[in-house]
Subunit: 347 residues, 3 copies
């Protein structure tokens, strides 16, 4: 339980109302009780705000009048709420441990403050940093570097020579450093091309569950600081993803494509190989990116084009049958202007 | 080996022919031998029926004349065949065991009739129900509930507080309870939003291999009784899937989308977030569902629209180049009616 | 370090220049130093060739004049480069071992030259062939056959009765032999159909990380000799893939579809079930194949049609809004020919 005064200070929001109110958790407006803080960031939930039993609400100053109880005023209620929730729900501290069932190569270096769970395997000359957490069943290859405060999920695989910066979070079942899909064709048979690079992650990179990241063929596959990847994503060999880019689930990025900084990619998008995507590009769901994108903006479709253009075209597509009938009538009319009335009736 | 009489009784089909015929297995009409039962549910395989060596065939009463040998008559031959196959190929009984290499937290409760395989990890205060099977290499977190008769596949991960009803089947490598993809943006950097919910499965839910289900952000991710998920599916935080809905492989469902009961979703479909999909909705393969669907029916396309409309439009799309040429000719004709003949020839 | 003369002999290329030059590795033209060989196969990298510091370059005879130093002449520089890289970067030899933490069923047969890593589980009556590598954390079921020189990645699962030919490579987290998605519907509830087949791989088959291959329902799921699968692919029950076919990441193949020999399938493609795809078919990225393809060629789109046709139609689609406006103007013009000028201006 923390007081609203204290929470306001922690998240940098302005308190308006009873600062002594004690708060134990966060909740949706609908589910919140008197010990909870809710948040109001979307006008669509206005009716929930009217009826909420929350002890306090985070909202924008201009919405202050919509709630009677104590408020935390913030220009970005969702961000303040995220901070508030983190303050009220701190992650459990890492308890230093090497589980007796873990297999640690004698040449590996495990920081004394790190936690290595049950049934983990750590290979030769790998380094596990301060307060890093290696969850049960994870497999760490040889020559791997795991930075301080990383959390590697259960059954994740970090193949040989993978590098993780500080504070990375790797989801359950994710594979970093898998063999890139590289073959030369010899009279109809596929000859594997050795995949010599590695996977390199900067600080604060998150990788979702069952996501796969291939090591580079000749040069490394790189995820720069602050990149966030969701689940079930495939990142091929030699891809580079720029700082603070966020990519939703089920995206596939083909080999050697470079994506810029601060991009967002929605779920199910595909990128063909060898593209350059500049900074601040946003791709909507299930688009297929077939060409490099050299200026910022929103892109959509199959294949991807500017979102403005795609929206117009897809609206027309959804009436394409009507359009084709219309053209048929025009054609008939040109041939025989007297048919106009009939064709109109047959429509 | 069981007699046809006995099998007919077991599956509730009507026997027509020699009930003493002994049967050991099931097979396709093509591969079946005299000890096998085949089934005929699709007219496309009529020639296979004519030449099959099956000892007996399950078919509809109206097809009785198409096969000379003994038959099991059923209005739904595929369903009867499924039951027959289950009777002839019972799953091996669960042998109670805790493998010596399994790591069981002292506070976990394992039913005496359960089977815990090699190299399994079970966390604090987790409960494994009667006759449940935890296969080799599975990782069970803390506070997990696994209902009676569940089968958890090799290397599956059930993260902390996951709940499984009775008779659930979790595929190899599936991850339940992964961290939802939730971030607030702070001046260009992504701040993680704590993911406080869990994954809750009702009875008889199946989850395929390497499928991922995120735990909820504030509220649980829920799969109701009888939901069937195929492999490689991504279910984001806060999704709710209604009873008896079946979803094929490679589908992605974005956060907080609710899908109704008895829906079917074909492979590769994507749902954007915060949608409501009502009961009895059927989505065809690789569609992108961008809007809520409030009435039952079949939906298709990118983005999804009614299947009837999509089929008409996509047929027109596949002749779009011709349509555009036609419009070009009409335009030219309007400008200069004398060109008609030539344009026709240049076509 | 090997001499150019020796390398030329090893890869069957013609040496032109100082054969005594010693080479230690391969690199891109941009990154190569005097000890490296680079390769030039794409005119797009001509400027890199002009400035490279590579000790030698593999290129086509007609490009010989573009580089001053020693060259290896090859009609297929990428293939020669692949061989060269393999010669310079041999895979580490398999050290015979059964790790003490591995669980081997007494009835399993492990070749004395095989390597079984840490925390591996091998089930009853499974056979691990000569010089095969089973990496840490892999789970091998019962009755599994792993051919000579196979490499099974960390945390891969080979379910009961899976067969691998010689020299197969299975990626980390891949699942072979998962339960096929087969249900009959009984008054709204799904009844599982027993999945009795297995997964059968010929020689030289590669399977990527976190790819899933279901075992057959009645007949086996088969990947013939030389098939190469990338990461995150879903192969459903009863699929057959022909020799030397290569399939990129995130593809989904529905049940009982047969794909021919020497096909290539780009990323994100979907196949509906029960199709026949003949030999030498090439499908471009994210296409949806809804019908059988009975002649060789390139196919694209949603749904897939011939690539030629799709390219024309999609180009028209990207101007569909303009086309629809044009038709609107024509219509107006037919009704009232005097409006022509105005409508032109309003365009």
């Amino acid at each position: 339980m923390q007081s609203l005064t204290e929470l306001a200070r922690l998240v940098g929001a302005e308190l308006d109302g009873d600062g002594g109110r004690l708060i134990s958790g966060v909740a949706t407006l609908k589910a919140a009780g008197p010990d909870d803080v809710g948040f109001f960031a979307n006008r669509r939930y206005r009716s929930d705000l009217a009826t909420t039993k929350a002890g306090a609400v985070v909202l924008m100053p201009e919405d202050r009048a919509l709630f009677n109880g104590p408020c935390l005023l913030s220009d970005d209620p969702y961000l303040s709420f995220a901070r508030l929730s983190a303050a009220l729900n701190p992650e459990p501290a890492i308890e230093p441990q090497i589980h007796p069932s873990a297999m640690i190569h004698p040449s590996a270096q495990i920081a004394p403050t790190a936690h290595v769970g049950a049934l983990v395997d750590v290979g030769a000359e790998s380094i596990i940093g301060d307060a890093a957490l290696i969850s049960a069943g994870a497999i760490i290859g040889s020559g791997v570097e795991v930075g301080a405060d990383c959390r590697v999920g259960s059954r994740a695989v970090l193949a040989d020579r993978t590098h993780l910066g500080a504070r990375c979070r790797i989801g359950e079942g994710a594979v970093l450093g898998s063999t890139g899909f590289g073959y030369a064709n010899d009279h109809g048979r596929w000859v594997p091309v050795p995949q010599l690079g590695r996977v390199w992650l900067g600080d604060d990179v998150d990788v979702g569950a069952n996501t796969t990241i291939d090591r580079g063929a000749l040069e490394d596959t790189v995820l720069e600081r602050g990149v966030k990847l969701d689940n079930q994503i495939q990142v091929a060999h030699g891809v580079v993803i720029g700082e603070d880019t966020a990519i939703a689930a089920c995206v596939g990025i083909s080999g050697s494509t470079h994506i810029g900084k601060r991009c967002t990619v929605a779920g199910g998008v595909g990128f063909v190989g060898h593209l350059e995507i500049t900074d601040d590009v946003h791709i909507t769901g299930m688009s297929l990116v077939m060409r490099s994108i050299l200026e910022p903006g929103v892109f959509s479709g199959f294949p991807a084009e500017s979102n403005n253009s795609w929206r117009k075209n897809i609206a027309r597509f959804q009436k394409l049958d009507q359009l084709a009938r219309k053209v048929g009538r025009l054609e008939q009319l040109m041939r025989d202007p007297k048919t106009e009335k009939n064709s109109g009736e047959q429509r």
